[in-house]
């Protein structure tokens, strides 16, 4: 297996405050990887650095062997690197449908926008019902669905989720579980950043644990789940 996305010695932060202190992480093609860690350790910051919302200070981000760390955020979706961001970041004043259309703006996804629309409406029938409602007036969970659906519209090669399950009803969590397996079968590479450590570790193949801006542990998800420190710190056992 080769690493589709390879992150080496990545450092970044906000203003003068450094948050990431040399992160190494790689996503193997077709694998579902999860990144877990406590509150405020820098998971979101890592995703923001990968997408280019904030600039890396040092280190490299390679995609398909090509350095992409310096590229501005808007160039990433064209390559196939897509993020479903924390806090959803919807276009609140646009309709549900327009939000989905905006997901498919990159050059790769445009051609299949219609098909993909069908697909995400299949996955989230509730969105179909709310197609022309202003996104800002959706319920919290509906907004989360829309954010995930919009990410899928981009036809990503690497799809990263920041807090995928946030605010979703159990029934939907189960559905999404199925969906992720399905996407994996279709060959999508995914990175799941989660607080819901149980859930994350149970669905993914490989896992990283982050603390204070560094990766402290990695390995196959099942093994990581058995580590004592993980059990103590994150699983509340």
């Amino acid at each position: 297996m080769m690493a589709l996305l390879e992150i080496q010695d990545l450092e970044s932060g906000y203003g003068e405050v450094q948050i990431l202190w040399g992160v190494n992480l790689s996503l193997e093609k077709g694998r579902l990887t999860s990144l877990v860690g406590g509150n405020g350790v820098g998971k979101t910051t890592l995703l923001r650095t990968i997408t280019g919302t904030i600039k890396p200070w040092r280190g490299s981000v390679r995609f398909n062997g090509q350095e992409i760390g310096h590229l501005p955020a808007y160039r990433k979706p064209d390559l196939g690197v897509v993020l479903v961001p924390e806090g959803r970041q919807l276009f609140t004043d646009m309709s549900v449908r327009e939000n989905l259309e905006m997901g498919a703006t990159n050059s790769r996804a445009r051609a299949h926008a219609a098909q993909n629309l069908e697909r995400v409406f299949g996955l989230f029938p509730r969105l179909k019902e709310r197609e022309s409602q202003r996104a800002g007036t959706l319920s919290g969970g509906e907004q989360q669905m829309l954010a995930v659906a919009r990410g899928l519209m981009a036809e990503p090669e690497v799809l990263m989720f920041d807090e995928l399950y946030l605010g979703l009803a159990p029934v939907l969590v189960l559905n999404l579980f199925e969906t992720l397996q399905q996407l994996k079968r279709e060959g999508l590479t995914m990175l799941l950043v989660e607080q819901n450590v149980h859930m994350a570790l149970s669905v993914s193949d490989y896992a990283y644990v982050m603390a204070e801006g560094r990766i402290t542990l990695e390995g196959p998800a099942a093994e990581v789940a058995q580590q004592d420190e993980v059990k103590k710190a994150y699983l509340g056992i």
Binding site: G140, E163, L166, A169, N196, H198, G236
Partner: protein, 250 residues
């Protein structure tokens, strides 16, 4: 009864987000409010604390009809809430955010008192070391705690918690549950919207389930979790639900 919701309905255009919702809440209880996404839970909070006026029905808080009263009116009477989608006062410090709650809530404190209350409450929710930071620079999980701190600082009689557990990891959830219980033990009545089932089941005295704006079930956690309508609409397939239950109870 500290709160009575009597036959409340709320429309958004053609959508009936709440339909004849009725519930009574005795003092000192924790009521769990669950239901699928878009069921109308947050909308019910908005009606209870005056953000929306309902088209039908009445809301009675501490014996007073507060239907259609402004949010600050009920806030002064002792109702506080947190937001599912956080609403920090970004360019104020964390401490000032909490002081707003203390100053304008039920007890109407002056600035000095409010500052002391803020310090206490921030310690309590674990934001003590961030008091001087601008609220805007917190991350989402921290902002959620800030929401709780602001609500607590107003020394409420009734606390509406909208998904305070979302985004916390299991050990944090465990500590938050203790926090919530501790608040209840101080005599505060709580309504809690949650999707983290094992947590709701553990702390709630009673649970109300909404689906498409309708109350589809009400009862003790035990009763509700066995209710087939709830399993179908909310928990999903019973077998998966069971597995989920195991996962959460490990």
């Amino acid at each position: 009864m500290i709160l009575q919701v009597q036959g409340v309905s709320k429309w958004f255009g053609g959508l009936k987000a709440l339909s004849q919702v009725t519930l009574d809440l005795p003092q000192g209880q924790i009521l769990g409010l669950i239901g699928p996404n878009g069921a109308g839970k947050t909308t019910l909070f908005n009606v209870i604390n005056g953000v929306y006026a309902p088209e039908e029905g009445r809301v009675i808080f501490m014996g007073q009809d507060v239907t259609g009263k402004k949010p600050y009116h009920v806030a002064h009477m002792g109702m506080a809430r947190t937001h599912q989608i956080v609403q920090p006062l970004n360019e104020l410090t964390v401490r000032e955010n909490v002081m707003v709650g203390a100053c304008f809530g039920r007890e109407n404190h002056n600035l000095n008192e409010a500052q002391q209350i803020a310090e206490q409450v921030l310690e309590f929710v674990g934001l003590g070391d961030r008091a001087d930071q601008f609220a805007g620079s917190l991350n989402v999980a921290q902002k959620k705690r800030l929401e709780l701190a602001r609500a607590l600082a107003s020394r409420p009689k009734l606390l509406l918690l909208d998904e305070v557990l979302a985004g916390l990891n299991p050990s944090e959830i465990a500590s938050m549950i203790q926090t919530v219980s501790a608040i209840r033990d101080q005599g505060v009545t709580i309504i809690m919207i949650e999707h983290v089932m094992h947590a709701v089941m553990r702390v709630s005295d009673r649970i109300v389930v909404l689906d498409y704006g309708q109350q589809i079930a009400e009862g003790s956690p035990e009763e509700v979790s066995k209710n087939p309508k709830v399993i179908e609409a909310y928990l999903g397939d019973p077998k998966l639900a069971e597995r989920l239950g195991r996962l959460s109870h490990d």
